[in-house]
C-alpha cells in the first residue's frame, strides 16, 4: 500500500503542476540580474543565497495540493480504514513530493546558476546543497500542508508557517553553497534529517486532528 501510495502521489504530482514551482524558481533567478545589475562578481557572490530564497518560495506553491484534496475527497479516511497509519501516509507523501520537486529543482539549478554566473566549484557546492536540503524542504512542506489542510486561506497561512521554520535550513544551505564550509554542510544535513524525522509525526498528528 505504501509503495502504491508513493507511486500514486508522484504520478499526481507530475500530471498536475510539478513544473510550476520550477518555472517560478527559474523566473526568480532571471529577475535577480535585472535587479542587481550585470556585475558578474557580485552576482556570483549573492547568487547561491538568492537561489535558495527562490527555492524556498517555490516550495510554497504546491502546498495546497499536497494534503487538502485527499482530505476533502476521503482518501485519507479510506487509507486509515485500510490500516495505514497517518504517519505512514505522511512519510509516503513526503517521499512522493520530494520525487516531483527535488530532481526537477536540481536540473533547473543548472540554467539558474548560469544566469547568476555561478560556475565551477561553487556550482558543485550549490548542487550538493540542493541534494542535501530539498528532502528536508519537502518534509516541511508536507507537514505545513497537513497543518493547514481545510483552513480558509490555507495558502497564505502556509507561507507564514513554513518560511520561519525554514530559516535554519536556508542559513546553512546558503552559507554552504556560498563559501563551502564543511561545517555548514554538516549542519544543513543535520537540519534536513531533523525535518525528515519530525515531519511525519507532525503531519500524522495533524491529519488525525483534522478528522471530524
Amino acid at each position: 500500500m505504501i509503495g502504491a501510495l508513493i507511486v500514486r502521489d508522484a504520478r499526481r504530482g507530475f500530471t498536475g503542476a510539478a513544473w510550476l514551482p520550477i518555472v517560478f524558481f527559474l523566473l526568480v533567478a532571471t529577475l535577480v540580474p535585472f535587479a542587481i545589475g550585470p556585475d558578474a562578481r557580485l552576482l556570483g557572490r549573492i547568487g547561491p543565497g538568492m537561489l535558495w530564497v527562490a527555492a524556498l518560495t517555490a516550495a510554497l506553491l504546491p502546498i495546497e495540493r499536497l494534503i487538502e484534496p485527499d482530505r476533502a475527497d476521503g482518501v485519507l479516511d479510506q487509507l486509515h480504514l485500510h490500516g495505514v497509519a497517518d504517519e505512514t501516509i505522511a512519510a509516503a507523501k513526503i517521499a512522493a513530493h520530494w520525487l516531483t520537486f527535488g530532481p526537477l529543482l536540481f536540473v533547473a539549478a543548472f540554467p539558474a546558476a548560469a544566469l547568476l554566473d555561478i560556475e565551477g566549484r561553487s556550482l558543485g557546492r550549490l548542487l550538493l546543497s540542493i541534494w542535501i536540503g530539498t528532502p528536508g524542504l519537502a518534509a516541511l512542506a508536507v507537514a505545513v500542508a497537513a497543518l493547514t489542510a481545510g483552513l480558509p486561506r490555507a495558502g497564505a497561512m502556509a507561507g507564514l508557517l513554513l518560511l520561519p521554520i525554514a530559516v535554519p535550513l536556508l542559513i546553512f544551505a546558503a552559507s554552504f553553497s556560498a563559501d563551502g564550509g564543511n561545517q555548514a554542510m554538516a549542519l544543513e544535513g543535520t537540519i534536513s534529517i531533523l525535518l525528515l524525522a519530525g515531519a511525519p509525526f507532525v503531519a500524522g498528528a495533524a491529519i488525525r486532528a483534522s478528522r471530524t
Binding site: 475527497d73 476521503g74 479516511d77 480504514l81 485500510h82
Partner: protein, 183 residues
Amino acid sequence: MKALLRFEDVALRRGGRLLFEGLSFELSPGERLQVAGPNGSGKSSLIRLAAGLLRAERGHVERTPLALADDAPALDRELPLGRALQFWNASPETAMDALGLSQLGLVPVRLLSSGQLKRATLARVAASGAPLWLLDEPLNALDEDGAKKLGFLVERHLESGGAVLAASHQKLGGEWRKLELGQ
C-alpha cells in the same frame, strides 16, 4: 456467533453537543441495521464512529475489518474509473458489473455524474471483501435501478455472512432492523 460490530454504552459529543449516549447494539453476520432519524441527529457521526474515524466520548466500540461508503468517493478524479478503483482493490470488475458500471471503466472519474459516482463508491465497498459494510446515505443520487442493484448486492453480502450498517432517512429495500436516533 461473534458480532461484527458491537457498541457498548457509547456516548458521542460533537462541537459541544451530546448527540447520543448509552447506545448499545450488536451486529452479527447476516444482519442489517438502518440508522434512521431527522437531519442532524447524528446518523453520519454514528457511521464515522463505527468506522473508527471518530472517537467516542464514553463507552466502547469493537469492530471487524470494514468498508465505508460516504459522500467522499476517494477515487482519483483524473484517472479512468477502472484504474481508480484498482488503487483500493486489485480486481473491482465483478463489483463494477453488479452496479452497472462495466461500460464506464475507461471514463475519467471527474466526468461521472453524481449518481454514477455514488455507484462507483458502492462498487469500491462491494469489491473490498470486508465483512462489515458501513453505508452513509447510500440512496443519495441513486436512481431506481441503482437502488435495486444496491439491494441485490446487500442481499448477497448478507448471505455470505456479512453485515451492513446503513444510515438513511429514506426507506431502504428489504427488511432492516431500525435504530432511531434523535428521540
